[in-house]
Amino acid sequence: MFKGRDIISIKDLSLDDINVILDYARRMVPAARGEENLPLLSGRLMGRLFFEPSTRTKLSFDTAMKRLGGGAIGFSDTSSTSVKKGETLADTIRMAEAYSDCLVIRHYNEGAARLAARFSSKPVINAGDGAGQHPTQTLLDLFTIREEKGRIDGNHVVLAGDLKYGRTVHSLAHGLALYDVEVSLVSPRGLEMPGEIVGTLKEKGIGVREMNSLEEAVADADVLYVTRIQAERFPDPEEYRKVAGSYRVDLNLLDHARDGMIIMHPLPRVDEIAPEVDTHPSAKYFVQAFNGVPVRMALLDLVIRGGDLDG
């Protein structure tokens, strides 16, 4: 049911789809760690078309493909490609799909992955399109919550930081809306979660609280998901420093947190999580970054081969 399927937006996936992907990702963990040889995609090629630079996403897709015995072709910026000569995305896709078994695309325009899927007969995975969708990030976030907390249902998830411009928290909110969770939103004034997304959460029956204080929010939180507050969102650097300071996660804040709460961050982080937190048992952001590999292995094998481990 996944063979040949495009993965463009988290909204295209049902709860069953997501659970199939997360179950399969768990099966990939030993191979992702290098503890098992799992050459399911031996001889297959991933066309990796990155029109915009990215460190983690590119590395983890490349690693995922190689851990499954496959290879990767493509580019990670457009400086040496025909795109610079004015080639349309549609033409680039028609060329690249002929060379590979699936396409992974990151692009600066919203909707680029959906367009790529229209022109490609091979499955397309969206690795981030402008301010739009980044479904594999959401899947690895959900996987991390499930692996660390045992399940996704029943958790109180706090989304903190820049909730207005952060695409990862928008997609995650849509993903969480499929589960039985409680969500709290903590953001500086002017960087609140868009009303449309809060509306979606409420429509799905999710309890949503909007709060001002991180201390108050972590008191009964199971998951604290932190995003970066970018200095360029603030016209006044002094204002930015004040706001950034009050959203910083440090050991003092963790004194107020419920036992067993986990801290997640899509990375890169700047000042929003103090380095002293890195060795605290709550800190799961590097585990989360690793989880990008098994989740992307699962997706690649599902869309290229259909994901049958015995086949």
Binding site: K11, E110, G111, R114, D129
Partner: protein, 152 residues
């Protein structure tokens, strides 16, 4: 009861009725743009209406609308009706209906959307609601805020 006729009936053509007041001019300009033949068109504005209070009515002689034109009218006048007139008789009367997908008649309002770049695709929207019309871009997934200003 003798009904006062503000404009004379047409023999053959289309009458678009129940247009929200003020939208008639916009529909007129779209149809004129599509019609190099220069057909006779009559627009009545702010006509009293039992249903709407005020409405616009547009009559176009010797023209039956294309599905694309009906789609545009559905965006501007979601409660509109279209009457087809042949030999001075109304042979068909139907409400305009916005299809589930709107393709190639409005552009996406997001300048960073891939459909606003030089790509060989028509803008395409999913209809979220019909009246009032709400459209979400199939590509960038944003809802179009200004539908009328983005009609192609």
């Amino acid at each position: 009861m003798v009904k006062e006729l503000r404009v004379t009936p047409i023999r053959n053509g289309t009458v678009i009725d129940h247009i929200p007041p003020g939208m008639g001019l916009k529909i007129l300009s779209i149809l004129m743009h599509d019609d190099p033949a220069g057909r006779t068109m009559t627009l009545a504005m702010n006509v009293s209406s039992a249903r709407q209070g005020k409405k616009d009515v547009l009559k176009v002689e010797d023209l039956e609308l294309t599905p694309e034109q009906v789609g545009k009218i559905a965006l501007l006048a979601p409660e509109g009706t279209i009457n087809i007139i042949r030999d001075s008789n109304v042979v068909k009367k139907e409400k305009v209906v916005l299809p589930d997908r709107v393709v190639g008649i409005v552009r996406c309002g997001n300048p960073n959307c891939i459909t606003n770049q030089r790509e060989p695709v028509e803008p395409e929207f999913v209809v979220v609601s019909r009246s009032p019309p709400r459209l979400r871009c199939l590509y960038c997934e944003r809802e179009l805020e200004d539908i009328i200003g983005n009609i192609l």
